[in-house]
Assembly symmetry: C2
Homo-oligomer: 414 residues x 2
């Protein structure tokens, strides 16, 4: 993938600094360490007020930084930017959590010279601890002063969002509108654990210099996430802080994208492609993951059943540990399809892994163990489930379940 | 718990032998090894035809040994016994799987002098491999000849059922009927992985010398499993072979148990208590488990929501890894309650672990880290979720998620 960063669209600046949450003593920061190990507050701003849309976690419990952002987006007003902190989720601490997020936003707004309601907030990390507001407000001057459209500042804002992510996740695309003008869309994400459809501890921010209304971004975004961000499962846990935010500032100078136009189709397609790229990156970098697994079902009776099946297989610890162990225990896939709740004839199921047939009409076929071993040794594994019930299909991205998943999550808080 | 074994009720005999499935070369068997490492075929018989009832996996894909047993139980005829093999699940191999099970049953029936339809079959192990019928039929003479009501033979039949179980699971109870006669109920189970409500790779056989019709056993059994076997989740995977079978031969000489009688209440209560004991043993010995976790919800709006909540928490890899790491990351419990799909006010949730309050009205309380560490260091962990929506309650048993779970399941087949 080509170099990509969040400030590629015109009129956006970003920064990432250390407020001492990931690394409590700034004097201890080893500049040879990855920046993601100490940067912990990110700011992404548009030079001019931008239209905005978002999709959020389906969890009934929502983080306080997030509920504040939802209110802002729902108000229909334009925004100037978003501040994101890692390490502390600002969730499960009560009303004080909303006040804390508001205080951080207002300090940034003061410094930028805008209204605090134009600064969205996002937090990711441990639930039940208060945001260290003093630490964050202390670095607001540095955060705002270091805003820049250069590549390094953009990458810093991504590093500051990362928690147990091992690699940054940044994408961008440029499309040419009907009027000949170029429009750029860029995005960055943090993923890793607590990830299951309808979002997870997953925060993704998109910037674009397209000229498009909030309502139309909203439409494009909902279509874009459906089979991308909403088809990633790392561990079946849906976090309280997930969000995908798109800011569009029109700085490209291109004509306004209108509903039903070819420009809209181009825009939605590009947004979907970038979402797909990020979703694959998130699954691939799931906590402790050693493999990327794509699960595909075809021939399901209807969309509902298709989704039940891919969800069930993607969530199965037995399938995921077998993939980690490179063990051709494909009966576990059949089992997970069986308990998914979908209706199908077990005697008409084919299962392929890496293009190789393991089950035909519900019966395990004689397969070449050596060939199977080769397929299972790959980093990317495609599991295909072929039913004979109808025309519906779906897919989901996940990763394997490893020792490292247990290690990371056995001691996350401490 | 007192000594218990499956032949404690009058008129039952059992045996367990090695057919060379777990250990392919009988010459290699080290008699110092646990018997569960080489015994692989179990037989439990009643001296006289017994009434019978069963509950089975909800998985749409069912093992061939199991579908045969379901047909037998549903026919309403009496049975003489059940043959159980470990190592191979006899599932996902097509029609030949039914024939294989039938052949094994008929060889045993010939030797016992009964009809093959009186011998039920159960298999547990790898899916997609054919049952090694020759190996099993070769040991049928030994299996039948070694049938005995003594304690050792009974234990052998339990060892032969075990797969990744680390401890045998055997329980028994004696109750005094209204006519003064004593009735005994005994049971044994194998559990371990692929375990989630509505049964799992879990096979449990009950014997009793009570005088009770198949219909009444069926009623008592369905009530007994509801909050016991159907409330165990090891990993969310529901296997294709699960079954709980109860055989009642009336050998106690007690009067027949009739519907609505006090004797029936006594019987159902004893059956439920034994099911509860076995369910706890199964969760406690879940694959790789280092802890037993009981999740309880009270104050839910209705039974449906209560079940959603305990299922969601019991299934959360993040909760289960935190318990393994003895990490007081109780925000993960709140998160799992939040995405359970149940309706509740997040601002009216209390969460207690080991009786200690961690969340009050949805907000994390200041807790004593040292006290928390002590609670989380215990083997048995009770997680209580208190809502303010209604009167419904539920509970579920599970275990923690450990390195060993990944290890066991990364290489089960090979």
């Amino acid at each position: 993938m080509e170099e990509a960063y969040i400030t590629m669209p015109k009129g956006f600046r970003a920064s990432g600094v250390s407020a001492g949450m990931k690394c409590s003593d700034p004097a201890n920061i080893n500049k040879d360490d990855p920046k993601s190990s100490y940067l912990d507050v990110a700011l992404i701003v548009s030079d001019t007020p931008a239209n905005v849309a978002g999709v959020y976690t389906s969890n009934l419990v929502k983080g306080h930084s997030l509920t504040r952002t939802i209110d802002i987006v729902n108000s229909g007003s334009k925004v100037r930017g978003i501040v994101i902190n890692s390490k502390v989720a600002n969730a499960g601490v009560g009303k004080v959590g909303v006040d804390d997020a508001e205080l951080v936003a207002s300090k940034i707004a003061d410094k930028l010279g805008c209204d605090s309601k134009q600064i969205m907030t996002a937090s990711t990390g441990v639930i039940g601890s208060r945001l260290p507001v003093d630490k964050i407000t202390n670095v607001v001057p540095e955060l705002v002063d270091s805003l820049s459209s250069d590549e390094e500042s953009a990458h810093n804002s991504e590093y500051a969002m990362m928690t147990t992510d091992t690699v940054p996740k940044e994408v961008a695309a440029t499309i040419t509108m009907g009027d000949g003008k170029e429009v750029t869309i860029a995005a960055q994400a943090k993923g890793s654990g607590m990830i299951h459809p309808n979002l997870a501890t997953m925060i993704s921010v998109f910037t674009t210099d397209a000229n498009i209304s909030s309502d139309l971004i909203d439409k494009a975004l909902h279509n874009a996430v459906k089979y991308t961000f909403n088809r990633v499962s790392v561990d079946g846990d849906t976090s309280v802080c997930d969000s995908v935010i798109v800011m569009a500032n029109g700085a490209s100078g291109a004509s306004e994208i209108t509903e039903g136009s070819e420009d809209y189709e181009l825009f939605e397609r590009a947004l979907t492609k970038l979402s797909d790229d990020l979703a694959r990156m998130i699954a691939s970098d799931g906590e402790g993951a050693s493999k990327f697994i794509e699960i595909e079902v075809t021939g399901a009776a209807d969309e509902y059943d298709a989704k039940l099946i891919v969800t069930s297989v993607a969530r199965s610890p037995l399938v995921k540990t077998a993939m980690f162990g490179e063990d051709a225990n494909i009966g576990r896939v059949l089992t997970a399809v069986g308990y998914s709740g979908a209706k199908f004839d077990p005697n008409k199921v084919d299962i392929l892994v890496g293009g190789m047939l393991f089950f035909h009409d519900g019966v395990c076929v004689d397969f070449d163990e050596e060939e199977a071993a080769k397929i299972l040794a790959c980093h990317d594994i495609l599991i295909q489930i072929v039913l004979s019930e109808g025309e519906a299909h779906d897919r989901m991205f996940t990763c394997d379940f490893t020792y490292d998943y247990v290690k990371i999550n056995g001691s996350y808080r401490t």
